[in-house]
């Protein structure tokens, strides 16, 4: 008659014992997120130049994935302009029903439909670098491009004061991209008292930016060019270099391609605003893990930008940012 409760009591006691013992080590291990499927990441482009922006983002992602113990899978189109391909890749990724998708959108509007589909399937989406025109993404992790543009604009304002030629032109990369829109807005805000003759779009092609700059240089009153991304900056710098116009036209660029840094050293580019792609990658995974654990996440996370000039480019704290330690 008592055997059943004897047995039960012992089981319950052992169970309690087990639970209490678990408690002592649980605080370190239970924090780890257990995912059956990897987090899917869709980049703007993959397999670009070594140590380019997206490769550094990937390093940050890998570091975070290691730290938080999650699996990730990265995909994306070959080139940034392949919007349709990115949509197809995103759709394929959605079909795999991952726990979460991290997306760097190549188009502000055209990826919305796919993201809505992911949302209807209950897959959360985090956008990085470039967002989409939708409230669905649980978080947007990017450089505050208005602020970054502002930094470039303020530097240009400082430089143009030293220059006889006062007219400023903007060379942007692509028309309908949020980064281009916001950077331009930031630049224009900082240069509101200056004379900006217009914005040209190079469609993410160095040659086009180069050609635009050659055209612009025909205007002898041009004193400053703000180039809004890496490709635009390289095109502009190439033209200035060839025309040996660095004394009369001051260039403020964006990003930190090795060639750009050489131009910076040579004085062809006066300053460049660099983002923190490593942090972007790291924070995207950190945020994803926090979201999947049910914690509250910021809807927008600024990964910050830094104005780099010839004077500070070899400073200890920026060296790693500008020259990522790769497998040289």
């Amino acid at each position: 008659m008592k055997n059943w409760y004897l047995f039960l009591l012992s089981l319950v006691a052992a169970f309690i014992l087990f639970m209490i013992l678990s408690f002592f080590y649980n605080h370190t291990s239970s924090e780890e997120l257990e995912l059956s499927e990897p987090i899917q990441i869709v980049f703007k482009s993959i397999k670009g130049q070594p140590m380019d922006f997206w490769e550094v983002v990937e390093q940050g992602i890998d570091e975070a994935a290691k730290e938080f113990g999650v699996q990730v899978n990265i995909s994306g189109p070959r080139y940034e302009r392949e919007i349709n391909r990115q949509i197809n890749i995103l759709n394929a990724v959605i079909d795999e029903n991952p726990p979460l998708i991290i997306l760097a959108a190549n188009d502000f509007k055209r990826l919305v439909a796919s993201v809505e589909r992911a949302d209807s399937m209950g897959i959360p989406v985090i956008t990085i670098d470039s967002g989409i025109e939708s409230d669905i993404p649980v978080s947007f992790i990017a450089t505050d491009n208005i602020d970054a543009g502002n930094k470039a604009g303020r530097e240009m304002k400082r430089l143009i004061a030293l220059n006889e030629n006062k007219i400023i032109a903007i060379v942007s990369h692509i028309k309908e991209t949020s980064s281009a829109i916001n950077r331009e807005a930031g630049v224009r805000e900082a240069l509101s008292s200056e004379d900006i003759i217009g914005t040209w779009f190079c469609d993410v092609e160095t040659e086009k930016a180069y050609a635009i700059t050659l055209e612009l240089l025909k205007n002898r009153e041009i004193g400053g060019i703000v180039a809004l991304n890496e490709v635009a900056t390289l095109g502009v710098a190439k033209a200035i270099d060839e025309q040996q116009a660095s004394d009369r036209v001051f260039v403020v660029g964006f990003d930190n391609a090795v060639r750009e840094l050489a131009y910076l050293e040579e004085g062809i580019i006066k300053a460049t605003v660099v983002q923190r792609p490593y942090n972007m990658g790291y924070l995207s995974i950190k945020t994803a893990v926090e979201y999947l654990k049910g914690e509250k996440v910021e809807t927008f996370l600024d990964t910050d930008s830094i104005l780099i000039t010839k004077d500070n480019m070899f400073k200890r704290e920026y060296q790693e940012l500008l020259f990522p330690v790769g497998n040289q």
């Binding site: 008592k2 055997n3 409760y5 004897l6 047995f7 009591l9 012992s10 089981l11 006691a13 052992a14 169970f15 014992l17 087990f18 209490i20 013992l21 678990s22 002592f24 080590y25 370190t28 291990s29 780890e32 940050g60 570091e63 290691k66 730290e67 113990g69 090795v258 840094l261 050489a262 050293e265 040579e266 004085g267 923190r276 490593y278 942090n279 790291y282 924070l283 910050d304 070899f314 200890r316 704290e317 920026y318 060296q319 790693e320 940012l321 500008l322 020259f323 330690v325 497998n327 040289q328």
Partner: protein, 591 residues
């Protein structure tokens, strides 16, 4: 409900207390040993890590030392010293051969990025003839250059940095630089720069790590990070290393590691470079299978519990089973039987209890027997008190009649009446016995009737019709006579016609039914009913009883002797009188 009820028993209480105590004991024991196991595992892992860290320091030191040997070899190159002292043309053959030798070193050691000699005069000899110097670099501003000058001939190891001395190339290096001093006059001839590929150090740091998450990092004496796997997180303050706390380990001999949250830090200092190498180990990597340890401990706990539980159960039921047995026997008191426990298999305490109980039961039994005897005595005395005595009026009336008949010379009648009286007394005495044969009772009542009939000059007739089978049955003596007396005085005497008294007797199931019927005055139905109610109520409550106390006495005596089932009841008789029915048990008289 059932549970709370169960914990009220001694057995479950013993069990509960034992279980709780053992649970606490096992719990504390397991906790201590679990912690101990974990500590042991952690300490041995950390001890291994320390060895690993030591190896890392050694490898980096030997790497730097190897580079330093090269720099020594270069500086001892007499041809070079002569060249630097004299100042030479970059197109000269001496220059070429020096460059050739430097180039050989670079080629021999693929971990050397560059070897460059900066002459005091400003001439630069690059180890790689194909490289272009970066025109935008001012060598005199470079830290490796300045610190080498300050060191005055000693080797200076730089922190890690981006070397931009080659045009269009930005490579991460650690620089070894030293001043080349003339062996002749001690004058400074220039600076030798050996750039080591930083990747080599990075790879070393990344190869000797523990677990999936552990990592190493290097800090120079000025607390600059030479290497950290996620340097950018450090500079943007997304990750913090508790440098101060780690450094305090250097002054503290007793502590070999610093523990913060889930990370363990250990520090070693390279004597050659002054660098601090710090290894970071994650708790989750140290004890990867703590769950298994935990499960086995829990399983052990379960088994211990089952064993102890069963043992407790045996102990508790061993205590309570004899008590239960005792209790069951004692329950017989409820039903009125007083069973003895007798010999019982139990502990001495319980046996003692049983013995005391048995003694008690013995006493109770004795007391009960005595009580029964007393009751018997009391009943007998009651019966005696109730026994109808021969009415003295009847006696002297009868004696008067005898005298009167004697005077009249009616000798025959005198004899008859006297013998009837004599018989009447003999039977009523019956040697003191309560019970007599029915035949004796008949003789008794007949004697009485004979006397009365003679006295009342044939005022009535009587009939006795009792089944002869019943003659041997027993009856309380003087049962019928008071009824007959009643019938004469209250029935027949009151009427003018000749009376008739009938006495019948027959078997009535297991009982005997006797009836005394008269045709006298009789009673109303209401009176009869009242009488019957009175008879069935408590004996002795008969206040005014018109019928005389004799009849009531008979009833009470029957009930006292045989029980309430028996006794008298009144009925109207068909002849106008009353019929009294007597029910008594049928039993033979014992001899």
């Amino acid at each position: 409900m059932k549970k709370t009820l169960m914990f009220r028993t001694l057995e479950s209480r013993i069990y509960m207390i034992f279980t709780l105590m053992i649970f606490a004991a096992v719990f504390v024991m397991q906790l201590v040993s679990f912690r101990f196991t974990m500590n042991t595992v952690r300490n041995s892992t950390l001890a291994n890590n320390r060895i690993l860290l030591g190896q890392l320091v050694k490898q980096i030191d030997s790497y730097i030392a190897g580079m330093e040997q090269i720099s020594m070899a270069v500086q001892d190159d007499l041809q070079l010293i002569t060249f630097l002292q004299n100042g030479g043309d970059s197109s000269s053959t001496v220059y070429r051969s020096i460059q050739q030798r430097l180039g050989n070193y670079i080629e021999a050691r693929n971990d050397i990025s560059d070897i460059i000699i900066v002459g005091q005069a400003g001439g630069i000899i690059p180890g790689n003839p194909d490289m272009d110097l970066n025109p935008w670099v001012n060598i005199a501003d470079k830290e490796w250059y300045r610190s080498a000058l300050e060191a005055g001939g000693a080797t200076v190891v730089s922190s890690s940095y981006v070397q931009n001395i080659v045009a269009g190339r930005y490579s991460w290096v650690v620089s070894l630089s030293r001043e080349i001093v003339s062996p002749l006059d001690g004058k400074s001839l220039g600076i030798l720069l050996v750039d080591l590929k930083f990747n080599r150090i990075k790879d070393l740091c990344q190869s000797l790590v523990v677990g999936s998450k552990g990592y190493n990092f290097i800090i120079d004496p000025d607390r600059n990070y030479i290497f950290h796997p996620s340097q950018q997180l450090i500079y943007s303050e997304l990750r913090m290393e508790p440098i101060d706390s780690i450094y305090s380990l250097l002054d503290n001999e007793n502590e070999s590691f610093y523990h913060e949250n889930d990370r363990y830090f250990m520090i070693e200092t390279s004597s050659l470079t002054g660098w601090h190498l710090i290894s970071v180990t994650y708790e989750s990597d140290i004890v990867t299978d703590w769950q298994y340890v935990q499960i086995s401990y829990a399983f052990l706990g379960l088994i211990l519990f089952l064993i102890v539980g069963l043992a407790t159960n045996r102990i508790s039921s061993g205590i309570t089973r004899p008590i239960r047995k005792l209790q069951k026997i004692m329950q017989s008191v409820d039903t009125g039987e007083f069973q003895l426990v007798g010999a019982i298999k139990a502990t001495e305490e319980i046996r003692e209890l049983a013995r005391e109980y048995d003694t008690m039961v013995g006493h109770i039994r004795k007391l009960m027997d005595e009580n029964i005897k007393e009751q018997e005595l009391k009943r007998k005395s009651d019966l005696k008190a109730l026994q109808a005595q021969i009415n003295p009026h009847f006696l002297y009336n009868t004696l008067d009649s005898i005298i009167w008949m004697g005077e009249m010379g009616q000798n025959r009648e005198v004899v008859l009446m006297t013998s009837a009286l004599s018989k009447l007394f003999r039977i009523s005495i019956s040697r003191g016995r309560e019970l007599i044969n029915i035949s004796d009772e008949i003789a008794h009542v007949e004697s009485y009737l004979t006397i009365q009939k003679m006295r009342y000059k044939d005022k009535f007739e009587y009939e006795i019709d009792i089944d002869p089978d019943l003659y041997k049955s027993s009856i309380l003596k003087i049962t019928l006579q008071p009824l007959v007396e009643n019938a004469i005085y209250h029935g027949i005497k009151e009427v003018d016609h000749k009376g008739l008294i009938r006495i019948t007797g027959e078997e009535f199931g297991e009982k005997i039914k006797l009836e005394v019927v008269d045709n006298g005055k009789g009673m109303t139905e209401e009176e009869l009913e009242n009488l019957n109610t009175m008879l069935s109520s408590t004996p002795g409550s008969s206040g005014l009883f018109r019928q005389g106390t004799g009849v009531l006495n008979v009833h009470e005596r029957i009930q006292l002797y045989f029980g309430n089932k028996y006794g008298l009841s009144y009925f109207p008789s068909s002849g106008g009188g009353i019929r009294i029915m007597i029910i008594i048990p049928r039993a033979e008289l014992e001899k």
